[in-house]
């Protein structure tokens, strides 16, 4: 019904709320990419020789690679020589300091984003690693975690303090040649988070990393490595925001998760990079490789993602199920409004016996948004009795947007079972009318119906994040056409 669309149209477009710029003096490399730039990054970080070599191998391989064209996204060719590959606040020059020494401007930036870093205001029960452009500016609760044996620090620090763990695990899930953007990341990554949970330890609090892009014309290439040793357990959260700028900015991250026998990682993302304006100008290109390996038996990993930001989201958090009886889960909400594009999904690669995986994907398209689910479920020769359940639901708001589903299946073991369900629906005028007749405003009704649609995913998020995700969804949809 046309007039109800009017109601939706009239919902006042609310601005991206984290779009401010922090005015801070930065030390940035001039744009450009070469072996010298990579050497310079490595030198800045005082890295051991093996890591520099690893970067250079990645770079030389990257030079031989072609930019992938298969995703259902469109954007102008990226000139990799126009990007600056390193930018850090001047005050961070001498490496991570104690919190008392961190530039107050940075602390207030995180306060504005709702992530207090000061001692007295810290989020209870959540340890935070704050990554600002190319560097980690602070990690809270480090000492308390260390007492429990948990290592939670910036990647740069881990390279210095725990080189043996880095050497043992880096690149073992996503190799430095894996794909175009993973190779680029391996060559130029500047920081990120590192987590090691020792045998039998249940991490005493939630760990989280908050990524912030601030500087213009820089790319953010962070790398996260989480290792859950035998019988351990950790829940990790990741949040992302960036200022509003007219130029597109590249964020090409790599996340590697290693899960050993009987261990479990729960990895949650609320991605709210600047999505560009209502005409599709500006916004972050979010091209990320995330992969988990259930290396031993009974390992479990669960990816939960809520993707509301970025001009383009292109990522497939995946699970390699090597260990027998290991479990992989993927819960995703991806929302595209205005001119946003998302091509996201997962790969579940079953090698072990009795491995099982669950995929729940909820795509919401509004405005001119294009939303693609792309997923692969592969049952290897030895994946005796492996099981997968996939459910892909799309919700369309308006007739300018699109939803696309590309599920791929490869199975080499006849005992494996696969179940796939898919649905596409429109937000129904009857539902809106019903809610509004009960005194619920159009805006609240839309956000309620959409939240209801996403419920199966939201219930997987830790409490504090679920609330934030719901609010975010409401804001991201404002100004959308029904």
């Amino acid at each position: 019904m046309a007039a109800s669309n009017e109601n939706l149209k009239n919902m006042i477009g609310q601005e991206y709320k984290d779009g401010f710029v922090t005015d801070i003096e930065s030390d940035s490399f001039p744009p450009g990419l070469s072996e010298d730039v990579i050497r310079a990054i490595s030198a800045k970080k005082d890295e051991p020789e093996f890591l520099l070599e690893w970067r250079l191998e990645a770079y030389r391989h990257w030079l031989t690679m072609k930019h992938p064209e298969w995703a259902f996204v469109e954007f102008p060719k990226i000139d990799f020589q126009e990007i600056s590959y390193y930018s850090a606040p001047k005050s961070m020059e001498d490496g991570p300091k104690s919190l008392d020494e961190v530039d107050p401007e940075l602390i207030s930036t995180y306060n504005k984003l709702g992530i207090p870093l000061e001692e007295q205001m810290r989020l209870a029960g959540v340890a935070v690693d704050a990554v600002f452009d190319s560097v980690s500016v602070a990690t809270t609760f480090k000492d308390k975690l260390y007492e429990a044996g948990v290592i939670f620090c910036s990647f740069s620090e881990a390279v210095k303090e725990h080189p043996e763990l880095i050497k043992q695990y880096l690149g073992t899930v996503v190799s430095q040649y894996d794909n175009f953007y993973a190779a680029l990341n391996a060559a130029v990554f500047s920081d990120g988070s590192f987590v090691y949970i020792p045998k039998g330890v249940r991490c005493p609090m939630e760990l989280s990393t908050y990524f912030r892009i601030n500087a213009a014309n820089t790319g953010q290439f962070e790398r996260t490595l989480i290792i859950a040793d035998e019988g351990s357990h950790v829940s990790y959260l990741e949040g992302c925001t960036a200022p509003m700028r007219d130029e597109n900015q590249l964020h090409a991250a790599v996340v590697e998760l290693v899960i050993l026998k009987d261990a479990e990682i729960k990895y949650s993302t609320v991605q709210n990079w600047y999505p560009g304006d209502e005409n599709g100008v500006g916004g972050i290109y979010n091209f990320v490789t995330k992969r988990a390996e259930c290396r031993e038996e009974n390992a479990k990993v669960s990816w939960t993602q809520v993707e509301t930001g970025s001009a383009i989201t292109w990522k497939y958090p995946s699970v390699v199920l090597k260990g027998d009886n290991s479990i992989g889960e993927f819960y995703s909400v991806a929302l595209t409004n205005n001119y946003q594009q998302a091509d996201t999904g997962t790969k579940m690669i079953h090698y072990g016996k009795n491995t099982s995986s669950t995929i729940i994907s909820k795509g919401i398209s509004a405005g001119h948004g294009q939303n693609t689910y792309r997923g692969l479920v592969k049952m290897g020769r030895n994946a005796e009795n492996a099981r997968n359940y996939t459910q892909c639901d799309s919700l369309l708001m308006g007739d300018q947007c699109g939803a696309h589903t590309f599920p791929y299946i490869e199975t080499k073991n006849p005992s494996a079972t696969l179940e796939h369900e898919a649905s596409t629906s429109k937000i129904s005028e009857d539902q809106l009318f019903y809610c509004m007749q009960r005194g619920i405003s159009a805006e609240d009704a839309v956000s309620m119906i959409v939240n209801g649609f996403c419920k199966e995913v939201f219930k997987e998020l830790p409490m504090e994040f679920a609330v934030e995700a719901q609010a975010l969804l409401g804001i991201s949809l404002e100004g959308s056409v029904g």
């Binding site: 005028e429 009318f433 019903y434 509004m436 009960r438 005194g439 309620m448 939240n451 209801g452 996403c454």
Partner: protein, 250 residues
């Protein structure tokens, strides 16, 4: 309370309501009967503000204000409630969440603060008890997978919690078993109040045995063709609609 004057409504050029006149005073109960397709639901939708209709003539005053000029939510806030002939499912949204959002939406408009969680739950559970509804319905998604009768009962629960001043019930009795009909009717009677009016759209005398109407109207071809007291419903039950048509023709 409500005054409908010469209301003409059409959809895609086809006239569905052609000149409805109806006046409903505070505290009154009006029953509207009429054959399938005569425009009863359309009338209730128009009063509630559903989009997609062309109102070509006439006006509707609600407590002296132009009802047709108000948005759907504004009407709800002002006290208009429609119990749907076909209640809508809202997947993933729990009944209790929905009720709370609705009640707080209305309270906010009245300048009242949100009801605190304890008061709210006590109020809702009390009403559920009156309607003999299991509390587990609170945690199920709105109308999802509810049986026909359960949906109808849920509408009355919402009405009881929201306490509107103009209650439009579109065939709330259809689909209810004999016991449920009595429970729902009692629920409605409990809400009767000198400041609250009811419009009962129904096909059956049965409902009117439980809820005594002050007036009965017969709608045919988008027009009120006959009005009278409760006895009109009994006559209709006896003679069918053909009888009205014949009387009109003669």
């Amino acid at each position: 309370m409500l005054k409908i004057e010469n209301l003409h409504v059409s959809v895609e050029g086809k006239e569905i309501l052609n000149g409805i006149n109806l006046e409903i005073g505070a505290g009154e109960v009006h029953a509207i009967m009429g054959p399938n397709g005569s425009g009863k639901s359309t009338l209730s939708y128009i009063l509630a503000g559903r989009e997609g209709y062309d109102i070509t003539e006439g006006r509707v005053l609600f407590n002296g204000k132009d009802l047709l000029d108000m948005s759907v939510e504004e009407r709800a806030w002002a006290g208009v409630f429609l119990a749907f002939q076909y209640p809508v499912e809202v997947p993933g949204v729990s009944n209790i969440y929905f009720l709370k959002a609705a009640l707080n939406g209305i309270r906010k408009h009245e300048g009242l603060s949100e009801l605190d969680a304890m008061d709210f739950i006590t109020r809702v559970k009390g009403k559920m008890k009156d309607l003999d509804m299991d509390e587990k319905f609170l945690y199920r998604a709105v109308n999802e997978g509810f049986s026909g009768g359960e949906k109808k009962r849920n509408e009355i629960l919402q009405m009881s919690v929201l306490e509107p001043s103009l209650c439009l019930l579109d065939e709330t009795d259809s689909g209810l078993d004999i016991d449920a009909l009595q429970i729902v009717a009692e629920g409605v009677n409990r809400l009767r109040d000198p400041n609250r009016s009811f419009v009962l759209i129904t096909h059956y005398q049965r409902l009117l045995d439980y809820i005594k109407p002050d007036y009965v109207h017969v709608l045919a071809h988008g027009k009120v063709v006959k009005s009278g007291g409760p006895e009109l419903a009994l006559e209709l039950e006896k003679h069918g609609y053909a009888w009205v048509e014949e009387k009109l023709a003669s």
